[in-house]
């Protein structure tokens, strides 16, 4: 037989080399899994991003040499995030976490362009074969805060410093309001959206505005301790966001919602490592440990602490749900009937505020 290059030979050769490369792939399985993160703000924000990074560190500590994690901070929520994500994917990161709502389209795009990379988008709702979403039931924490605020407010007006009108924030506002109304039916919640997750000067000015308009308890959905510092200065109460911020406002800081991402990140990395990862919409809360309430300020009266503890226990046991009907929206329309509870699917895309929110 002569050794001319025939098509048959070529196809056989191609098939052989393909098989070889598959074998070679298995040889690389012992390399650590590269996990990538993109953060909206700086890890030094002591809030949202800091909590995610803490989770990343916990994952690395828990899984030892099996994972290697990299992060990129200060990635804007616009088209400029895509090149960063592409870069991470091309550098070999097989699991990428996008830690803010505004990375939704970029995450979808990344998942489409790199089918072998697993993408997990935080607080989003679009999924694909290799794109999952995860969220934390912060609104469970907001219900605790709302209960405290409803009981501690003497002026009957409490403030909510929001960032953008996205489902996560709307949920927070509604949970806060409903829980406060359960303690004080006439309570008013003033809402200011500052169109930023992180702008300390503007957060401070907005908190000052809320205080001037009569709010004596202010909760924030933005990431810096600036609103708390303002509360301390004015002698009113506030809550920390994403982390225990009591050192910034020892008198004003009542408690805080802490984001605990470590267990989730560890579980997901493990799933990718052993091949059991599936696109999911994970929404953990108090029960699974992603939401934690910081130690109470000793200035909080004992009965308020007891009520707050009751709400937490209720969430953990499943006996309490702040979104149980009847719930009426700002326009007066009934959205949830008596005896019903809001489903997760509705919570994830909510865009209306409950009655009592002044926005």
């Amino acid at each position: 037989m002569n050794h001319r290059i025939t098509r048959r030979r070529l196809m056989q050769g191609a098939g052989a080399s393909l098989a070889l490369s598959a074998l070679g792939g298995r040889a690389f399985a012992d390399e650590p899994l590269k996990v990538g993160y993109i953060y909206l703000g700086p890890v030094g924000d002591f809030g949202w991003t800091w909590a995610h990074d803490k989770g990343r560190k916990e994952m690395v500590a828990a899984l030892g040499g099996k994972v290697v994690a990299d992060y990129v901070e200060n990635v804007k929520e616009d088209a400029s995030a895509l090149p960063v994500l592409r870069d991470l994917a091309q550098q070999g990161h097989r699991l990428i976490f996008t830690t803010s709502y505004g990375y939704m389209e970029q995450s979808v795009q990344l998942a489409t362009e790199f089918p072998n990379v697993i993408v997990e988008h935080c607080t989003g709702y679009k999924r694909a074969k290799n794109l999952g979403t995860y969220n934390s039931r912060f609104h469970e924490g907001r219900a605790v805060l709302g209960t405290i605020a409803g009981m501690m407010s003497k002026s009957g007006t409490i403030g909510y410093l929001g960032s953008y009108k996205v489902p996560e924030v709307v949920l927070g506002v509604n949970a806060f309001t409903l829980a406060a109304q359960a303690k004080n039916p006439n309570i008013k919640v003033k809402l200011v959206m500052i169109d930023s997750w992180f702008d300390p000067a503007k957060e401070s000015a907005a908190a000052e505005t809320l205080a001037n308009l009569g709010c004596d308890v202010i909760t924030t959905h933005t990431d810096s301790p600036a609103p708390l510092q303002l509360c301390e200065q004015k002698g009113i109460f506030g809550f920390g966001q994403g982390a225990d911020m009591s050192r910034f406002a020892p008198h004003a800081h009542l408690t805080a919602i802490e984001d605990i991402w470590g267990p989730y990140y560890t579980a997901r990395a493990k799933a990718v490592l052993d091949g059991s990862w599936k696109p999911d919409d994970t929404w953990w809360g108090f029960k699974d440990g992603t939401v934690k309430i910081s130690p109470y300020n000793p200035r909080m009266p004992k009965e308020v602490q007891a009520e707050a503890d009751k709400i937490q226990a209720g969430w953990k046991s499943g006996s309490y749900d702040v979104f149980a009907g009847p719930i009426v929206d700002q326009a007066g329309k009934q959205r949830v009937a008596k005896g019903e509870k809001m489903k997760d699917a509705d919570l994830a895309v909510i865009d209306w505020y409950v009655k009592g929110v002044q926005s």
């Binding site: 809402l191 300390p200 000067a201 000015a205 000052e208």
Partner: protein, 307 residues
């Protein structure tokens, strides 16, 4: 609308306007001398982190402000050297300084995250500073009074003194000033240094008065607004002062409107405004026919005595 409400709103307005006023005052002097320094945002952040770090270590806020001024001055001298003696493009170098400042301040500031310093509040006695009515006059940080004194001083200096006249001459027609015998480049460098110091002090206002903490990019674009303010004020001190407070009123009104349930303008407009303003500034500067009548004639152009 009680008196207390109005006073509280005024206090907020002053707080919002002061850092912009400080930075814009410095930039006014720089541009009057014919130099365009776009690096205000970077210098402000360098000032902010320096003020925080020094105050944290020495517990002396005055030293903090002084060091912030020195740090801003130092960074502006770097710009001055490149632009005045090496003749590099002012727009590009200014932007590079802005980016450099953002990065350097973030790097230096990493170890200061999560720390706090006492707020640099009023030095007047509590009876005046916390009085429900008189706090609108006496309740501010010393930097507020410094800002007001400086803009009045700069306005007076530019309009009514000989050094001010020389500075303006250098900015309007550097070749004529040179032919008379004035040292154009040293005068411009002095102006740039002053602008840098003022930007540094403006930055210190963020990390010492508004929010006594350090956070990356905590000036959030106010430097660009200060740049725009100089242009919109027609390079005149009085208009700059009113412009700064006008901006403060707009921002505060927007917050009050939102908190009360309605919005003056779409909120995305406010988010875009610093960048729109920066673009507008550059457009105006680049077209001499536009508002060229008010801009210093040599603004942005290198000094070339030999042609």
């Amino acid at each position: 609308m009680s008196a207390d409400f109005v006073i509280s709103a005024l206090v907020t307005i002053v707080g919002v306007s002061t850092p912009i006023l400080l930075a814009a005052t410095g930039e006014l002097v720089v541009e009057k001398a014919g130099v365009l320094n776009l690096g205000v945002e970077g210098m402000m952040l360098i000032g902010a982190v320096t003020a925080f770090a020094v105050t944290l270590s020495t517990f002396n806020p005055w030293l903090g402000v002084a060091c912030a001024a020195a740090a801003g001055l130092g960074s502006s001298l770097l710009f001055g050297l490149l632009v005045l003696w090496l003749g590099s493009n002012q727009v590009a170098t200014g932007l590079a300084l802005a980016i450099f400042g953002i990065g350097l301040s973030s790097l230096v500031g990493t170890s200061y995250v999560g720390m706090i310093i006492p707020r640099f509040t009023s030095i007047f006695p509590d009876a005046l500073a916390r009085d429900p009515f008189w706090r609108v006059v006496f309740g501010y940080s010393p930097l507020v009074y410094f800002a007001l004194a400086t803009i009045f001083g700069v306005g007076w200096l530019l309009k009514r003194t000989r050094p001010g006249l020389v500075l303006r001459a250098v900015g309007e027609n550097d070749l004529s000033a040179h032919s008379i015998g004035y040292p154009v480049l040293p005068i411009r460098l002095a102006a740039v240094a002053f602008g840098g110091a003022m930007s540094g002090i403006a930055g210190s206002y963020f990390s010492m008065v508004i929010t006594p903490l350090w956070a990356e990019q905590m000036t959030a674009g106010r430097g660009w607004i200060a740049l725009a303010l100089v242009v919109f004020g027609g390079w005149r001190a009085a208009r700059l002062l009113s412009g700064a407070y006008f901006f403060g009123i707009l921002m505060t009104l927007e917050l009050y409107a939102k908190a009360s349930g309605f919005s003056l303008l779409p909120s995305q407009f406010w988010a875009a405004m610093p960048y729109l303003a920066a673009v507008a500034v550059l457009a105006v500067i680049s077209s001499r026919e536009g508002r060229g009548g008010e801009a210093p004639a040599c603004l942005g152009r290198p000094f070339l005595p030999n042609g």
